[in-house]
Structure formats: C-alpha cells, structure tokens
Symmetry: C2
Subunit: 317 residues, 2 copies
C-alpha cells in the first residue's frame, strides 16, 4: 500500500501509450491514427516536415514548467516551423524518452499539452514512440500542407523588401531571466516563457500576401534575420526602435539592470514570425514593419552597423 505516484515503469510502454491515445480525437484528414506501425494523413501534392527536440535541463526544467507547458512548448517549436514556411500544420508524431521513475501522469499531461498546442494550430497527434532515457526528451515532428503559392523559403528576400514581424519578441527571454533569478513573478513574463502564444494562421496569411521570405524567431530576432540575410544574399537593416519595449519587459529589465532590447533582439522561444514583403501594402494586418532589405554584404545591420555577434541561442555551449 504505497502512496507513491504511478510511474511510467509501473504502467509500461504499452500501458503508457494506451493512456495517452485513449483520449485522442482524430480530425477528418487523419486517415489512420495511433496504434499501427504508422499513421496516415491526407495531403495535397506535397508535405512539409520538420522536427524539434526538447531536452530536460537544456530546454526546460520540470520545476519551472508543468508537464502541460513542456508539451505545449515542444509542439509549438515544430508547429511554428511549418507556419514559417507559410504552411498549415496537419499532424505531429512524438518521440518521448523518460526516466522509469517519471510519474505516468507527467507523461500524460505532457501529451495533453502537445494535443492542446496542436489544436491551436489545427493539427492532430497521430503517433509516437516511448522509451526509457536518463532525462525527459520530447521530440516532436510536425507535418503540414504548404501554401498554394508555394512554400516561403529563407532564401527569397530581395533588396527593396519590407521586413515585418508578427508576435512577441523578448518575452520568453525575460521570463527565463526571472525564473533564473529564483522568482516566479511577474506572471505575465514567466507565462510567456512557459508557453508561447502563437497565431499559427499568420504564416499562411503572409504567404497569401506574397511574402518573399520568412522564418520563425526561435534563435533570436537578429540570429533569425541573419538566417534570411545569408540564405538570400542580402543586407537586412533592422530598426529596434520600431518595436516598442512592453511595460513588463521594461520593468524587469530596469530591476535587473539589463538592456531590455538585449532580450528582444536575442531571445528565442516566443516563435514570432519574421517575413520580408515586396512592399508596405502587402503586409497583413497585425504585422509591424521593423526594417528593410537592401543590397550589401549579407548580414544584419542596426543603425548602419553590421551586427557581428551571434545574437541567438547556441547549443553545446
């Protein structure tokens, strides 16, 4: 008679899969759901595919994020990549590694978080693999349908394009700074770190309006703008003053004596969308102009100076 929580070792691989899959509803374009050797999902003439891996202690801490939040963040990282191609996410599969003593409820809640984030993106969880590992590992592969006008690449930016942003930058970085200092408030920043707020439809909308190039900001605004600049062979000039510093970020930055723009220019995890449009009138409602594309040595420029530092997440550091 123990009051210890039921662990993944207690319920076993197949028991855990059963607990996770029994509650899944399947939309119409899922032709075969979980439970067979593979799932089957309806597509057009092609499919977009991407994978992101979250590792405990590197990308999340279980004392900083709930299982639902880890699930949401893991799914968001991949779903945002589909949106950043101008696509519409349709399905995800999940590779899940867990220490045998992980509570089974944690795994179920993480799965629920993945399902919740998928729901926001119009996608379904259609399959997965669970295995023992030393750390919690959540690997989410997302697939989706490209836009009718063709996927929007990083390499399509052209001199004369207008650079625009949809979504938040710096919020998750500020929330991480708060948590790293041992605080749990302000809640609005901590929540921004714990789970992103992404409007997944904006990627398809940008594609429909003729965006030449697009990324989601997962490495940091400067780093991801540089990805476009280098892939397109263009100079991207950013005007940080065009992005107002939100009050919660300004307050936290002041308290910690840091430059709030550092968070906004280098922080990832918010998964804002950054796109280059042919002109101002192409830019969809809700997007903000933050720069321009010019001829010149490929790179990112602020106030005429090339930003040479990394300005973004690096792993293995």
């Amino acid at each position: 008679m123990s009051s210890n929580p039921v662990t993944v070792a207690d319920v076993g691989e197949f028991g855990l899969i059963a607990r996770i899959t029994e509650s899944l509803g399947m939309p119409r374009d899922v032709l075969i759901g979980p439970g067979d050797d593979a799932a089957e999902v309806a597509t057009g003439e092609s499919v977009l595919i991407t994978v992101d891996v979250l590792v405990e202690g590197r990308h999340f801490r279980r004392d900083w994020c709930s299982a639902v939040e880890v699930g949401r963040r893991a799914a968001a990282a991949s779903l945002a990549d589909i949106a950043a191609m101008g696509g519409a996410p349709s399905a995800v599969v999940v590779g899940f590694g867990a220490p045998p003593d992980l509570p089974a409820s944690w795994a179920q809640q993480c799965s629920a978080g993945i399902v919740e984030e998928c729901g926001r993106a119009g996608a379904a969880l259609v399959g997965g693999d669970v295995t023992a590992a030393d750390q919690v590992i959540v690997s989410v592969t997302a697939i989706g349908n490209p836009p009718e006008t063709g996927a929007v690449l990083r390499s399509g930016a052209q001199p004369g394009d207008v650079v625009a942003l949809h979504g938040r930058v710096g919020w998750a970085a500020a929330g991480l700074a708060v948590l790293s200092r041992g605080f749990r408030a302000p809640k609005v920043l901590v929540d921004a770190y714990r789970f992103p707020e992404i409007d997944y439809r904006q990627g398809a909308r940008a594609a429909a309006r003729g965006a030449h190039a697009m990324v989601d900001v997962s490495d940091g605004l400067v780093a991801d703008a540089r990805h476009i600049a280098e892939a397109s062979g263009v100079a991207i000039s950013l005007d940080p003053e065009s992005i107002p510093v939100p009050d919660p970020i300004a307050t936290a930055a002041s308290a910690y004596n840091v430059d709030p723009r550092e968070w906004m220019l280098t922080g990832g995890d918010d998964h804002a969308l950054l796109a280059c449009f042919p002109d101002r009138k192409s830019i969809p409602k809700g997007w903000s102009i933050i720069g321009s594309v010019e001829q010149g040595e490929p790179g990112v420029y602020i106030n005429g100076h090339r930003v040479t530092r990394q300005g973004g997440h690096t792993h293995f550091g």
Copy 2:
C-alpha cells in the same frame, strides 16, 4: 595543439548541421531539402508517418556498434514501419541529442549510416534538429507513400488467412546474446545485431498481393503476431517448426545452453515482415508460411496452446 578529437561542442550546432548536410544528395521528390524551417517532400493524396527513438545504453552501446551502425539501426526501425504498412519510404527527419564531448565525427558517421539505410529504402534524409543531451539520442521520423490499394493495417486479418514471414528472426537477439557475454564472434550473428538486413520492397509487394494485415517484427515474433491477433480479433496459430533454426543460431544456442527458438520467437530488431494473406497462392516469392488465422479468443497459439507470456521487448522494465 591538441590531438583530442573535434567534439560536437567544438563545431557547434550550426557547424554540425553544415557538416552533416553538405554531403547529402536529394532525389527528385524532395522539393526542399535541409536548411530551411521545414523540408518539403512530394506525396500522393496521403502520407504515412512514424517515429522511433533509439537511446544510448538502452537500444545501443557505442562500444558494441559503430556510429554508422547506430545510424542504420535507427533509420531501419522507422523505415521498416513504413514498409509494414505496405508503403514506400520517401524521407526521414532526425532529432539528434549528444553529449557536448561526443566526437563530431561520430555524429557525422551516424548521419552517414542513416543516409545509407535510407538509400536502401529509397528514402532521403531531409532535415533534423541537433541538441545537447546527457546520452546519445537518435529519433528518426519516416514518411512514405501508402500503396495504391490502401495501407495494410494490423486489424485486417481474417479467419482462413495464411500467415507468412519475410526476413530473419532471432538473429539480432542471438547477436546481442553473444555481445552481452563479452564476445565479438560469430561475426554473422554480431553483425545481424549491429545492422539489420531488410528488403523494404517486400512490404509494398505484400500489399500488392492483397495482404490483409501486416507488421514488422520489432517486439518479437509472438508479440507482434499478438498485435495483429488483438487488433483483428482473431486467433493466430504459429508453427515454430516451419522456421528452420539457422546453423549459427543453433551453434550459439548450444554453446550457451539456451533454446534457439526463444531467440526466434521473442527477439526483435531484425525487422522481418509478418503478414496475413487471403490464401497460399497470394504469398509472394521469398516469403515462408509459418501459421494460420483462425476464429477463437484473440491471441497467439503454438501447438494449440495460447502463449500468455509477453514474448517481446518491453521498455521501462
């Protein structure tokens, strides 16, 4: 001036990705390869998708398998799942976790192994994510095209069907037993553990010949036959005597004083294909009849007795 190998921390996330992707050739149905937020792959009206995760210390040991072999095994696990639906694999994406001190060459060789196995299955490596982790983790998601006649499920077996097998069973388990006892020979068994030999076309061939149900043997012959039996609501009668014990397995079993059929009935990792055909004349060349489908309490029966033990791999054990 150090003679230490270059590590993944030395080359960094983006350096490692560059090293891996620079050598990749892309077949024609890969519309967008690695390097953007997502890849794009041509499909028909639907796509099959599956994921498998290999974890160091659980599914492989670096002193037992080379990096190329780990890559081949990781890819094979997912590619065989696509084949087991009757499908033709088209692409994979890889989530790769590694300790920062892992030699970069190991990661590159593992990737080369994935590419090699993909080549055998007609698929391409189109994307991935690399991150730091305590153990080496290789998560491979495979997509593929279902057969024109529709994907072959586990749930389609019918009383009167003939059960047939293509490929090897027990070889990898015997090889693992050899390695576990500290030996490196007989090489033919050790190699069978280190990298599977799979004829990926056989899945599509079985589908074309009207197979009612199919799985790949990854949990063990009895365990995977049980998956079909339970999904289809049928009794599957297996005749172990119909599968000759190969000489290397017989010799090793005799030396270790174990029953060779234990390996053959419960060993996974060879990824043989097990299918139920409507009649004997439907069975493609190269497949062996090993049992029959009957009415009765769902399960696997040998010599009229229901096999109640697990008979297969379990994780978290």
